[in-house]
């Protein structure tokens, strides 16, 4: 950071969707902003699933629909349950899309370019090593190696793997057995021209989002995903990390997590979709399973506000993930709060906690609370194994018969029995699952 001035109004650490939004909106409000990123260029460390809800982003990024590097608008949702040799698929098509697919590295780069247009000073290739505090514990800047930069307020937008907050003693060291975190592993496959449209029945610019449950995660809470991009398809899995460790300990998981993705890519039901494709990238990233349980004790401290994944502001509903939109929205709220704190007289914790209130009053927090039950679900191992098998068993009893077909009730009863579940508690549990979703 040698050549740049070392005193700013606002320093934002991490140029992801949250940090870029905080920087953009703070600069728009007239603050002198430094945005710092460890990667080479913006976006180079970004990996996610693939689909972003546009609603909240219209407020954060005016013009996003016209200008952003959008690939496809999602018009079809699919959900498959995979058993041993069986697949059940539900598909839902609609005509008024509300979400799009994009490469997150490209989208983030676009967001950062918007921030730069507003006058944000963006520096990449700077790994921030710690927050700098004064004698009274107030955050007054950042340190990277020997370099220090100062600001009235620092915005922590470092993402789910929160080294800086850990080092500052604000959150506990990351422990998979206690924290609600999951690992996502993903492959990107490049298809021949026109293949995505032909094989998935999509028109130009139409996209598809596909969630996969069942044996693909070896009973570990989580699931698989498939998203369509311009000429590529992303295939991946997300597994709850604490349960993954348990599965290794119990000898249930004997293969590498990369084999879980490979088994979807090579699954007879799916592999025809990407015949003749090239794998062009492979990667992994941590994500938050249950935002409320990942939140730091406060979202604002003296000289510090926390946004995006680092603040636990991610909604994982199992069948869909809302991280990018919530992260960006929280960044915008942080910038508004900084402006308010400025008017109130300074960046102390008391003034900055308007941010905490703004988050709590926004749709973000309300959604997190409304879907709190999902946290229970991600801990419910049974949901990922026996329920999937029971459903497949019902379908098998109904359809795979040579002479005599059972009634629906007989099929359900037989499948539940062979799954070793009692009918009434099972119905209770299924109702609970439906209610929580």
């Amino acid at each position: 950071m040698g050549s740049i001035p070392t005193r700013f109004d606002v320093i934002v650490v991490g140029a992801g969707p949250a940090g870029a939004a905080a920087a953009y909106h703070a600069a728009k409000r007239g603050f002198k902003v430094l945005l710092v990123e460890r990667g080479r260029g913006a976006g180079s460390k970004e990996l996610y699933g693939g689909r972003i809800y546009v609603g909240p982003l219209r407020d954060v990024w005016p013009g996003i629909e016209k200008e952003a590097p959008i690939h496809r608008w999602v018009v079809e949702e699919r959900l498959s349950i995979i058993g041993d040799g069986e697949v059940a698929t539900l598909s839902y098509r609609y005509s008024n899309p509300v979400s799009f697919t994009a490469y997150l590295p490209d989208l983030t780069r676009w967001m950062v370019s918007k921030a730069e247009e507003e006058g944000v000073v963006f520096v990449d290739e700077v790994r921030v090593d710690s927050l700098v505090r004064d004698g009274e514990g107030r955050v007054i800047g950042i340190r990277s190696g020997p370099d220090v930069a100062y600001a009235s307020v620092v915005v922590d937008a470092e993402g789910a793997n929160r080294l800086l907050l850990e080092r500052a003693g604000i959150v506990d060291a990351l422990d998979a057995k206690r924290a609600p975190i999951a690992l996502g592993v993903k492959e990107v496959l490049k298809l021949p021209k026109g293949a995505i449209e032909d094989r998935l029945g999509l028109s130009d610019g139409e996209g598809l989002s596909w969630l996969i449950a069942g044996t693909v995660t070896k009973g570990i809470p989580g699931g698989g995903f498939i998203y369509t991009f311009k000429d590529t398809i992303a295939v991946g899995v997300v597994v709850h990390l604490g349960h993954s460790v348990n599965a290794v300990e119990a000898g249930v998981l004997k293969e590498s997590v990369k084999d879980l993705v490979e088994s979807i890519r090579l699954h007879p039901y799916f592999k025809r979709l990407w015949r003749d494709s090239d794998i062009v990238e492979y990667g992994a990233h941590l994500t938050v399973e249950c935002g409320l349980d990942y939140m730091p004790p406060h979202l604002a401290y003296d000289g510090l506000v926390i946004v995006g994944d680092a603040a636990g502001l991610l909604l994982n509903l199992g069948y869909t993930v809302r991280g990018v939109d919530l992260a960006s929205y929280s960044g915008m709220l942080a910038a508004e709060a900084i402006a308010k704190a400025h008017d109130l007289g300074g960046m102390n914790a008391e003034n900055l906690r308007v941010y905490e209130n703004m988050v709590k009053e926004s749709f973000i927090y309300k959604e997190l609370v409304r879907h709190r039950g999902i946290c229970w679900l991600t801990k419910e191992r049974r949901f990922f194994t026996s329920y999937a098998n029971i459903l497949l068993g019902i379908l098998s009893n109904l359809y795979v018969q040579e002479f005599k077909h059972p009634t629906v009730f007989e099929a359900v009863k037989a499948s539940i029995r062979s799954g070793g579940e009692a009918l009434l508690p099972l119905i209770g549990r299924i109702l609970k699952v439906v209610r929580e979703l």
Binding site: E249, E262, D278
Partner: protein
Amino acid sequence: MSISDKSERALSIDELLQRNVYDVDDEPHIIVDTEKCLKCRVKPCTLLCPAGCYTLSPDGEILFSYEGCVECGTCRSICPMDAITWNYPRSGRGIYYRFT
């Protein structure tokens, strides 16, 4: 690089990582105290590191290589022995994602 059988067979971790763009740092960003690994019964890192950075030598010792690391943070969160000193690569180094 065009291999046409790749969607028909399982690839090794090295074959997968070859698809990526890296600027590998000259010094490791993650240090593993492999003495501690000797007492680690389950060794979850060998299966849960998505980049296969942790492997077992023929005599059961942990071998760690940082070059293919995708900087996910999994290993630091699952190690029961506190054997890992974890950091991101130095500024700008490491994985460079393009289509993710």
